[in-house]
Symmetry: C2
Subunit: 441 residues, 2 copies
């Protein structure tokens, strides 16, 4: 009938984790990049049936780096775990109407739309509400007035890049970690949960809007970044790796490795002083400087003098010796490591060095490793929160692009093979490319 | 009877925002620093009645920097907005029993405990469940095996500091932004919502545990950081402010200001090319390098050559001219700015420069500015998600430490003035310090 429907066995089998919980909410996701896909992935981990809808050839992030040698996106494989994949060309009116139909399907599990780019035409919230009055639309955007932004541009606005990096460095130091995207995706989940709770109680739908800029503004205000310039006696400045307002910094060890050592609380400070046996030096610092290093502010003001006491101690020791001494006194520290080692160890690689043989201790499961691109494997770490001490279940693999188009059109929308064939011939829907998945990189 | 109860009028009036919604859930929070207080603050913004419990003199974060000249914490004032404050010495057995009593008070609104440091003795989840079977305990921790960690030590483990900062820099570059704390606090809210949804449906309580390390591992796995070293053809390296996998970087303008310019999608790239009128130069680059800059990977590989085209254009123009040209073509960019300017402008300071007179457009409200320390004011930006287009309500002021001790003991626990006086004389509970609030910094 339609070429791709003849090859269902060519697809990888669905992992059991991807079979949604009976009665689970169904989320139609039209998204790209980080925030909205992260929200959808989190909802999938909570048991929702998440249908990611992409245009033919894949969405804007289908080839986002990192990519394999064959050009398949490791990024996409990570953020779309646990979802189903449907190809509909939502850039066309008829495609949006088809997706709107998926959102509006009857039943308490339906009526949920998540997007950062598709709220137009038939997918506008007011239009969706004409099809189904209790729709919950979750819209991720750049600014609250609808202007575009991405994590990189929001981050530039926050002032954080001007207080990151080595003292004396000129210009901004950007972070490769998209904090605002992450926080926006999690806020979208919180907003969705709240709207669904309200819908369960009252029957009312909701339009939930979350702007990257609002997320950033709220967090900057909460943590003091917004007001310290105006109110603080000694506001933060670019200060290398010293932590602000107490004591903490990285130190180089004899074996070339590095550790982060932290003393924010009085207990952490006293543990550090006893681990290094530096009580007399500290007392001398206090006498000569007329300061009290039990006070976190004095530790911050004397951070360079304190660091000068720690540097030679660290420079004379390798990581195992440093680890033993600091752990024996309960000091707070961690070695610097790699993402691969850290993610690969359920209890974290630190302190005490890598522990590759650690058994899982109820942390996110990763027994299941999903098939990424080209037979590669990406780590499948489950949700971070654990209910009742259970390890959170893995999310499962990311879908092959378009693998669920036919089943969704037929089972969810009740379309016949003939109707599906017509939509396919019009280029409006597509199944999985045969033997492909390699995009334009 | 007890000294401080005679001075209720000395306290600042409660703002209307701090009066909880009738029937709102009551959360007992025993916490310090970022993740758990951020979770409590978010729940307060959602309408919960959040009682933050601190020991006499204030918790571990009561003096956390930034602080005013008088030593009052701007940080504390930000993260405890919208909460009530109760002083109970939960470091002692009797104090923990008192707090456990608050958690276990009857009624559908009660039975919720949020902590990152108090789950001991009578406040262990199993002990709480003996007082009330449906308690929901939300426990934020460092590692899933219970070992301590803070954002600074987790960040060291992630590998991110080794790919942050100028090319050629040796050693880690830490971020001052506590991404893992932020993501953990938001995950704690998600876990709490999920557990409360389940309790509403089934009557069952829950122990919800969230470790900073699990949050970080999950996000690193989702975004590709965990697997790119193993699977990617060209994994990320320390590369200054170039964004990875497409085109983006900061540029210096003629007036000394800086902008971040981004071209991840094809549309963003074409907008940039036309805004700068550099189509011919780009075509020449493509011919000579046998590349196709419509492909994001080729833009990344040619990032230095592309930047060399943009640098002189930016260096010859001030911000207004750059803004006009980029905006006219719909290119994606933002000026670098300060946290104060960004938070102070409801639509964000960018693009197009600061817009201090912008009216609110449904973003987080900040009409309400809370009283911080010493008569200062901290910005009161509400929650990031907006339901039905309404501006989210401000969170209100942070409480004076201990201002609600007496009312909570009498109204929630039904203690008599005589009993409260006895607890006070034993040093187990305390009201607000008179005219004080200045801690040990």
């Amino acid at each position: 009938m339609i070429s791709w429907s003849a090859h269902p066995l060519g697809l990888p089998p669905r992992s059991p984790e991807m079979v949604a919980v009976p009665g689970a909410k169904r989320v139609i996701e039209v998204s790209a990049f980080v925030a909205a896909p992260l929200a959808g992935m989190t909802l999938a981990g909570m048991g929702c049936d998440v249908l990611r809808v992409d245009p033919p050839g894949g969405g804007l992030d289908f080839c986002r780096w990192p990519v394999t040698a064959a050009g398949e996106s490791i990024f996409w494989a990570g953020l779309n775990r646990g979802k189903r994949s449907v190809i509909v060309d939502f850039r066309r009116d008829e495609g949006r109407e088809l997706v709107a139909g998926m959102v509006a399907v009857d039943g308490p599990e339906g009526g949920i739309f998540l997007t950062n780019l598709g709220a137009a035409g038939a997918l506008r919230h007011d239009r969706l509400c004409k099809l189904r009055s209790d729709v919950v639309s979750v819209q991720v955007e750049g600014y609250p007035d609808g202007r575009s932004a991405v994590d990189y541009t929001i981050a530039a606005s926050t002032g954080i890049p001007m207080v990151t990096g080595p003292e004396g460095h000129l210009g901004p130091v950007n972070s490769p970690l998209p904090t605002w995207d992450i926080a926006t995706g999690l806020n979208a989940v919180i907003g969705a949960q709240e709207a669904l709770r309200r819908r369960d109680a009252t029957g009312a739908g909701a339009l939930v809007r979350i702007a990257l800029s609002d997320v950033a503004r709220g967090i900057l205000a909460s943590l003091g970044f917004a007001d310290e310039g105006r109110l603080a006696a000694e506001p933060r400045s670019r200060d290398g790796n010293y932590l602000y307002g107490a004591f903490g910094r990285d130190f180089l060890l004899a074996d070339g490795s590095r550790v982060m050592i932290v003393a924010i609380t009085l207990k952490q400070w006293r543990s550090l002083v006893s681990a290094l046996g530096m009580a007399e030096d500290v007392a001398e610092l206090e006498r000569s400087g007329r300061i009290d290093l039990d006070r976190e502010g004095d530790r911050f003001r004397s951070r360079r003098e304190i660091a000068a006491l720690i540097e030679p101690w660290c420079a004379a020791r390798g990581c195992p010796e440093v680890a033993a001494a600091l752990d024996a006194h309960g000091a707070l520290w961690s070695p610097y490591g790699s993402a691969a080692d850290f993610v690969g160890s359920p209890t974290g690689a630190a302190p005490g060095g890598a522990r590759p043989d650690d058994p899982p201790v109820g942390g996110p499961a990763e027994v299941q490793r999903g098939a990424a691109a080209e037979g590669g494997l990406v780590h499948d770490v489950g949700l971070a929160y654990r209910l009742d001490g259970e390890a959170s279940r893995p999310l499962g693999t990311a879908p092959t692009l378009g693998q669920d188009t036919e089943s969704v059109l037929s089972e969810l929308l009740g379309l016949s093979q003939h109707e599906i064939g017509r939509l396919h011939d019009e280029g409006l829907v597509e199944g999985p490319a045969l033997g492909a998945g390699v995009g334009n990189v």
